[in-house]
Every structure is written in structure tokens, then in C-alpha cells.
Symmetry: C2
Subunit: 433 residues, 2 copies
């Protein structure tokens, strides 16, 4: 870790010069003059996607037409892209498919997990999650629990262990928290859940491509994740789903569409689920978006010769350490607090800063200066510390350098020192920031 | 109707010359030398989509990044494209959203319909459909019925009326049959269902953009449809969903994700469904594929000055009449039968030919000659007439001309006369044709 009292622009430039991953940035089309610290919301454009998507439109769709299901490999693209994701999350080839949205996939796996729990141990009628889990995960769980007459129990992170009782069927957690960047110990949590007879469902939205994940190593049960954040798949790219080999063939998932059928082109009456993870497919998938995601994965897998996810994690921690140091060094006295855990093992690839007021306007003032982070409102129903609004900064080691971090914090310092964030224009909220 | 005994190539050219819609074809990028009669499976590429998708990749994603949720209008694209589809299916602005796949949307509306039926009339425990409905529709219904302990009753078309009993909750039908092209009378079926206290769920996969549909006019209850067939949205384009205004706010649909929330960006705990059809959204949608679909819709709406869907239907019937006449005229004695109803009111925009053997190889021999139709296997569990294999030809009046029809049938005649379809290479089945 660098010395926070002496970290200068030249030090950051030296860190970039020593960075073995620095050339991976050339794979991406970064807007001129922009420092993009929001890859945890929407990853940037891989250069290869420009030609690949154009090819999918003009050659595969335009010229190949229906023949491209075979000739362009559309039909097994969910599996081929899934196999690339598998390499990032500790899964085997053939264990991951790319399909639908994270929310829809969560519905599938939580349904299957509840069926599995009911078959294995009747009487378990509680789904345990974190109160501060990503809202859509809780909405999906709320809907399923309501439909099945089950209880959704939401607790603070410190109370998760106590909630793992004989009533609990499923522990549903997001590995890295979207607001704070706090990361669960997946191995320990999964082991504790299993010791209590509870199945685990992990949302890897802020983990896949951001931190090393070893689903088979920790013996997780079910996992889903997002294609357009750290996987750089483009806006609304399809999501992915993984199920442990022990469970995958025990149940149908409820969205029993043709693409999850054992013989999808037989068009036979009577649903027969496909072997393995393919049964988690449902309807036809958006090939243009899936093609873009394939390029995003290639850009991550290009880090393999340099150490892959371990090397990316090493740089991510260095970037976030530098950011934290620089904020502490340059922005002291402005009411900012580091809301992300400082311990390496307890955080993902983002740093969140909390502030009692003005967080939204400060984010907007930074955007006006070409530094893009994002804003997340305080959690009014949570404990005191989580009621503060958040300035959120994602660090994507594939395309973010140490000089970017220095420049971003310098802009933040100037925004705070100058008070320019108090301009009325920065206070107006748009739908998305 | 033309005289089947005298229809010549010059007659077809004359029909093209008189066709007021002939210039709409210029909107599409048709492969040189190909006659594409498979737009009922995957519509062709609208020229505008090439630049629009490239713009979405390079400018909206690449340069705009997260800001494009607002600045490029990503956030309301499901509604804006939905409003265009609404114009084709007799729905009002704000009644249709584009999202997910047809199968996933069918799960949502059938779930909601069953909840509605249970609330309005307990004891109705049967979902009625056609045995020859599209398999994925039946798979979804089978899964839902299994999970809820309901019965899925599958009958032949002639037995649908008898199946509308006091036990029936929902009548789920595909408007135009994917194999035969037979079209239900949506107004009469819906009225009969309502008279028996039964809700209707319509799949418009082979109707939207192909035949006039008037959902509000016939007082349908729920409808879903496909984006990549007659709507020309590109491979796996998102699907659409419509619910009658009387029902739309009575229930959650089960896939209660963030995009269907009343305040999707408030990130508040506790699901509150959005007003109206927006609650049928779930997770983030694939923007590149959605952008392509928007272009497909524009290409159909360009027919509005010429009479819109009524004019497209007029031409579609003329094309299919000519095809039927030419097949009867040129291909007699080769064991082909017209499997599509001849009456205009009873068919969609395709013509299916049945044959006791060789249908697959004949389709392949046509493909080798640059005439693309497709093959559907006989329905072994069905009545005798439906056990025959099908050669399926879709006619999309936006980009198909009468000379195309003449040339296609001439190739079919030559394939049959020459017996070239008996070559072993044409007998090998791929996954998709």
C-alpha cells in the first residue's frame, strides 16, 4: 500500500508504467477526455464489438437469415458465452448458460431451490436475505414467497448467522453489495448455510469479472449474474445462470420454454427438460446483444496470460487503495466518509463515499467535469450509517489506470473546495445517473 | 382471384407493377439472388437497422455510456417500441411493452389470468388449448398447471367450443397456427369464451404485422407476441405483451423485477407494481436488439400511407392466392397437398404444403436453389391429416413480390420434376432449417 501522505500524480504515473495489465485498455473504446468510474453499472465498449455486432447484423442476419442459426452458431451461443463466463467464476465448461435477465434467472433458481428444499426437508418455509440486498432480488423473492405462502426474512449482515435456523430453506445473497461494495465471504457463508441444512443462491452481479469467484470450490448451490457490468456486454446484455451439478437435473425451473427442452426442434408435445444447465434456457435469446457480450468476455479473458482474475483483482485492490488514500489525503474536512470496508477480503471492486447532503449534486458536478461515478440514495429503512446518500465509484482494472484515479480525486477535491456542486443545475435529478 | 389455368410469369410481373406497396421493399436489405419465404420464422434486415444499431453501439454505448439511459432514451424504449406495435394489433398507446421472450411473457400473462380466474370464480381449474398449439406455449402452460395443480386440456380446433365448460379458467390460443397457417376467428372465440366465463390469452407470434388484429375491438384479455418474425426485429428480438385495461392492474405478474416497479430508481424495499402495462416489465432489456426491432417496426409503419395493415393483408392474400394457384397449376401429381385453409378468413400469411415423404429434402433442395422456406415435421400424435410433414412458406408483403412467388414455385416444380431432392445430401437434418 502506498503512503497516503506522499502520493502524487507522478507516483500514479509510475504505477501505470509498472502495470502489467496496462495494454489491455487498448481493447476498449473509451470516450476522449472522460474518466469512467461506472463500469460497475455499464461496462465500456470493447473495440471488437463494433465489427462483431455489425457483422452479426449485416452478414449473419442480413445475408445468412434463418440459416445463421446453424452457420453463424446462434443456437449454441448461450453455451459458448457461458463457457467463457465459467472460467471467471469457478465453474466447469457446460455449467453456465447466458440467457434472459438477472431478475428472470433469479426467479428460476430461487424457484428450483425452494422446490429442492421442500423435497429434502419439509417445514423449511423461510427465505433469508439481507435487508440491503439489491432491490430487484428482494422483489423477485417477495413475489415468490407471496405466491408460495413462504416468509422472506430480511436481516442486517451481522444477523445472517442467527437467521440460519431450521426454518430456513434458502439463503439468498448478493456477493458484493451494490451500494457499499461490501463483499461476503462466500466460502464461509455457504459452509454455514449448509451446516444448517440451507441452500445458497448467490447473485454475482458485482462479482463476475470483478473479483475471483469459485462456485464449485465453495460448493455453492445456485448462482446468477449480470452481463453488462464488469463483463462489458453492452446495455441490457443477457444475464447468466449456474446450478451445481448435484442439483441441476433434480427439478424443472418454472419457465419451461422450448429452448430448455431436451429436443428443442422436435416440437413434440409434453415438456422434457434438457440435461444439465440447458434446462435453464427458456425462449429465444437476443443474438445482437449476445454477440456484444461475447466480445466483452473475450476482452476479460485476454488477461489470462497475465494471471487472469487474480491479476485483475490485484490491480483492482491497488486502484481502490489509491483512491481511498487520495480521498483521505485530498478531500478531508468535506464531510465524506468511506462507506466501503477497508479490509481487502471484505470488499469488491468499487468504493462508496457517504455524505449527509449534496451527494447527488457532487456526482453531477463531477459528471460535468468528465468524471463519471454514480449516486445511490440513502437507505431510509436501514441502520443509521446506511441512511446517508452514496457517491459510488467503480474501478475496472481492464481499462482504468492509476492516473485516472488521481485525476478523478483531484476533480472531486476541486468540486468540494470550490463549492461548485451547489449550483442549482446539479440538484435536478434525472431518472438514471 | 387470378385464373389458375393461365397464370404466367408476365402476369406476376404485371401484378408487381400494379402493387402500390412495391416500393416498401427498398427498405430492406435482401440477399442477392435469394427468394426468402421464411419471414414467418426470421424477418429480413431493414436497411435502417444497419446504421441505427451501429449508432447504438458506437455512440450510445461507446460514447454515451451510462448517460444514454436518459440521453438516448433507453429507459423508455420498451414503451416506445410497444406503442408502435400497438398500432398493428388494435391496442392503445401505453398498452404494450416490449420485453423478454414470448415464452417468458406467456408465463406472466397466463399466471395473471389464472390468478384473475381464481379470484373471480373459484373452481375453474382447467386451461384449454389446442393440441397443435406452438409447443413452447404448451410447455409453459404445462409447467404452470403442474405447479398449481391445474389441468391442461388440449383438444382439436373443432372441439374447442365443447371444451369451454364451467371448469375452464383460461382459453389459451395462438391466433395463426405455426404449422398450418390456419387462423382462428379471434372475435368469435373470445366472445364464446367470455360467454362461458373464460378468460382468453392470445399468442400473436404469427399475426402481429401479418394480419389485422384488433385486441380491444374483440375485447381480448391478454396477448403476447414475437419481435423477430413479421416485425423484422432481428434474431431473438424481444417480444411484447398486452393486457386489457380492465385487468392490467388487478394482479402482479410473478416476475416482479425492478423495471416493473412503480418507482424503479427509488430502490426501495417492498415491491410496488407500476401502473398499467409497465408492471409486465421485469429486468433490464437488451438495448441493441431492441433498437433493431424499433427499425423493423418503422418499416411496417411505412405502409400506413398506403392503407397500413389492411393494405398489407390485401397483398398477403393476393400473394398466397397466387402461390396456391401456381402450385396447383405446376406441381400437380407430385403428392403435395395444400395444408392451409383456402378461405381468406381462415388463414394467416403463410401457405403450408404437406407430403407423405421427402418434405425435408425438398425444402433443402429449394434452399440449394436459393428459395428459402422451411420444414416442420408431421405431428405424430395428431389426427391423420396432421401426421404429414410440412413444407412451410411465409409471405411477407413488405418485401415479397409476385414474381418472387412465380420463381419460387417454378423452382419447386423443377425440384419435383427432376427428382433432385432425392440426392443424399438433402436428407441430412440440421438443427434448424
Amino acid at each position: 500500500m502506498t503512503d497516503p501522505m506522499t502520493l502524487k500524480l507522478d507516483d500514479c504515473r509510475a504505477l501505470d508504467a509498472q502495470d502489467p495489465l496496462r495494454d489491455l485498455r487498448q481493447q476498449f473504446m473509451l470516450p476522449e477526455g472522460l474518466i469512467y468510474l461506472d463500469g460497475n453499472s455499464l461496462g465500456v465498449l470493447p473495440r471488437a464489438a463494433v465489427d462483431r455486432v455489425a457483422h452479426a447484423v449485416i452478414a449473419e442476419w442480413g445475408q445468412g437469415l434463418i440459416r445463421s442459426w446453424n452457420s453463424a452458431g446462434w443456437f449454441d451461443l448461450p453455451q459458448r458465452v457461458g463457457d467463457k463466463i465459467a472460467q471467471l467464476i469457478g465453474a466447469e465448461p457446460g455449467e453456465v448458460v447466458v440467457t434472459d435477465s438477472t431478475s428472470v434467472n433469479l426467479y428460476k433458481v430461487l424457484s428450483a431451490a425452494l422446490n429442492l428444499a421442500a423435497a429434502d426437508g419439509p417445514g423449511r418455509r423461510v427465505v433469508v436475505s439481507e435487508r440491503s440486498n439489491f432491490p430487484t432480488d428482494l422483489y423477485i423473492a417477495e413475489g415468490l414467497c407471496k405466491a408460495r405462502g413462504l416468509q422472506l426474512l430480511l436481516v442486517e449482515p451481522d444477523d445472517l448467522s442467527a437467521a440460519m435456523t431450521a426454518d430456513a430453506a434458502v439463503l439468498m445473497l448478493t456477493h458484493v453489495n451494490y451500494r457499499t461494495g461490501a463483499m461476503h465471504d462466500m466460502a464461509a457463508m455457504t459452509a454455514a448455510a449448509h451446516a444448517a441444512g440451507i441452500l445458497t443462491v448467490w447473485d454475482l452481479a458485482h462479482s463476475a469479472g470483478a473479483v475471483p469467484v469459485d462456485l464449485n470450490g465453495v460448493k455453492a448451490d445456485f448462482a446468477v449474474g449480470c452481463g453488462y457490468k464488469y463483463l462489458n456486454g453492452g446495455p441490457g446484455a443477457p444475464a447468466f445462470v449456474w446450478v451445481h451439478a448435484h442439483h441441476v437435473e433434480r427439478f424443472w425451473q418454472p419457465l419451461s420454454g422450448w429452448w430448455g427442452h431436451a429436443s428443442p426442434f422436435a416440437f413434440t408435445p409434453g415438456y422434457q427438460p434438457a440435461p444439465g444447465i440447458n434446462r435453464y434456457l427458456c425462449g429465444t435469446q437476443p443474438m445482437l446483444s449476445l454477440t456484444a457480450l461475447d466480445c466483452g468476455l473475450d476482452a476479460i479473458l485476454a488477461a489470462a496470460p497475465f494471471g487472469g482474475m487474480a491479476a485483475l483483482r490485484h490491480k483492482s485492490l491497488a486502484l481502490t487503495d489509491v483512491f481511498i488514500d487520495l480521498v483521505n489525503q485530498g478531500c478531508a474536512g468535506h464531510g465524506l466518509a468511506i462507506a466501503t470496508p477497508l479490509a481487502h477480503g471484505e470488499r469488491g471492486s468499487q468504493v462508496s463515499l457517504s455524505r449527509a447532503e449534496g451527494a447527488y449534486a457532487i456526482v453531477q458536478a463531477l459528471v460535468a467535469r468528465g468524471v463519471i461515478g454514480d449516486f445511490r440514495a440513502g437507505d431510509a429503512s436501514g441502520p443509521l450509517a446506511s441512511q446517508l446518500d452514496i457517491l459510488r465509484f467503480g474501478f475496472t482494472p481492464l481499462y482504468t489506470g492509476f492516473e485516472d484515479v488521481w485525476t478523478a480525486v483531484e476533480h472531486l477535491r476541486q468540486v468540494l473546495e470550490s463549492g461548485e456542486w451547489r449550483q442549482p443545475a446539479f440538484a435536478q435529478k434525472n431518472a438514471v445517473t
